[in-house]
Symmetry: C2
Subunit: 338 residues, 2 copies
Amino acid sequence: MKLGDVATPALVVDRQAFDHNVTTMAAALPGPRLRPHVKAFKSTALARELAAAGHRTFCCATIREVEGMAAAELGSDLLLANEVLECRRLGAIVAAGAARVTVAVDSDETVAAAAAGGVPEVLVDVNVGLPRCGCEPGDAGRIAERARAAGLEVRGVMGYEGHLMREPREQKVAAVEASMKLLLAAHADVGGDVVSAGGTGTYDCNLWATEIQAGSYCLMDTEYLPHAPAFRHALYLWSSVISVNPGGWAVVDAGLKALGMDHGDPTVVGAGDCWFVSDEHITFGTSPERPVRVGDRVRVLPAHVDPTVALHDRMFVVVGQGPDAEVTDVWPVDLRGW
Amino acid sequence: MKLGDVATPALVVDRQAFDHNVTTMAAALPGPRLRPHVKAFKSTALARELAAAGHRTFCCATIREVEGMAAAELGSDLLLANEVLECRRLGAIVAAGAARVTVAVDSDETVAAAAAGGVPEVLVDVNVGLPRCGCEPGDAGRIAERARAAGLEVRGVMGYEGHLMREPREQKVAAVEASMKLLLAAHADVGGDVVSAGGTGTYDCNLWATEIQAGSYCLMDTEYLPHAPAFRHALYLWSSVISVNPGGWAVVDAGLKALGMDHGDPTVVGAGDCWFVSDEHITFGTSPERPVRVGDRVRVLPAHVDPTVALHDRMFVVVGQGPDAEVTDVWPVDLRGW
């Protein structure tokens, strides 16, 4: 099948850019130095590619992601890097021997939930500066003790310096160090051998974590690329021009139902400036220098990959560019929902 | 089942608010005066409620929506109010006798696509001021002629005054009139008995269309409600507090994967101000006056219903409020994708 035969709108993975991204990351953080974050792509088929590149430990954000990874036999070491109040579905996976599952805890309640649900291993999630989940660093040792008292194995700590991913490079390194010192202090209180942190924006300057939780690097988006320029845009929306107005604009058949919009407007490649996005449309400006016609196919780059992928049920993997590009694979987005 | 038994995050329809919205609209625009827009809720179960309220003609934005409505035997008059370049899937529905299908056309190419795909009926889509699809009003007669020459039945015109939905009331009425005069002029050139226009924001002041295309009114959202205050919030995200920080914030387990974000941040009801939304989290401010605890359930109102619904595979219908509310129905969101 050629890309030109694929109905629009469709989510497309550029195989060469994807391979570049995977190879670049695997060279920087081989094997278990990287714990790829499944939330960024929600596809066991894509995760299998990362396993083939040497990464066998994965990070998940939802129970559904853990279940899907276990069912796909990618469960040798799954970290649910999020707080969960009802762990029975996770415990069932462990009881069935389908996966090794570790869950993040940051409170007495989440420790109790892990114990009650039958999840045997935890990481203590520590607030390292991003106001989200994670206990205060000084409370980590107490939570670890409580977990051990509840019969849980405490593997170590995690902390996400998400507030630093977009810092200018010259400030980023020092800021990550300061953030990770908080995590290492907590680790000294907690014990265990895991210090899990980081993301695509700090993969090459977080020198303190034992493993980096990165996922966006696989597919990338327009918002993130300036902050991790070693990677390439490997995901786009394949769309069709359905209307051209003589007033100086045109419309493609992809919109809010196909694009995560929290990071702003998408980029209509080689066409014109995005004017606005509606449910099933992007209206963009046209010019005599860049004429478009009804029926033209256009690539649209999302501003944020993660919520974009969550709107699709599959990704078409292609080698090459344009309508003649060969579709070599279709990856189901099989980890949606909760 | 009680709402308290539903795993979070979950999309919830407040039955009483929904009934109020449906009743209010059906009183204002009974039967075929309203052509409910399926894109706003993407559920044949919900559409069936509207059919029971007297509306048997529906509006769709995608081929998938038309297919799903036809399969659900809700296809007595389906308008695909959008331009389509490949109509064979629509033609197959018509050929099978599964639905009456009309498609919007605004160019020679879309007329040719309807004819080639076997869609026998069209509306000429006219630009009435929103820079999106739709031919210029002066070109509508020519396109209708072209459609008739291609053997198509031209049922009339459509035009969406989407740029006026949020106008202050005192300017809205005159602006809608000016916009609809463009559509009526085109209609005079086109013929047919349908003048399809409008939306939830103009349902009560568009006096010129023969039918109004509204969908948001069923569920409503925080962005739209001020512009259509006769309706009520009938949709919310049911979420759990998973982390509380002594620094003055807390986190619920619903985020970008559960909420359309193009219209801005959601509202965390009765809790605190939304600080930011991540993939699976909303961080919101807390205060001594509004304490929250880990495990609390919280309602979150989306800023934009349409793309929010597209992220979920079902809606739980409840009577009452809070964990003891009775779940009376589960409506599959069965019209996602394209």
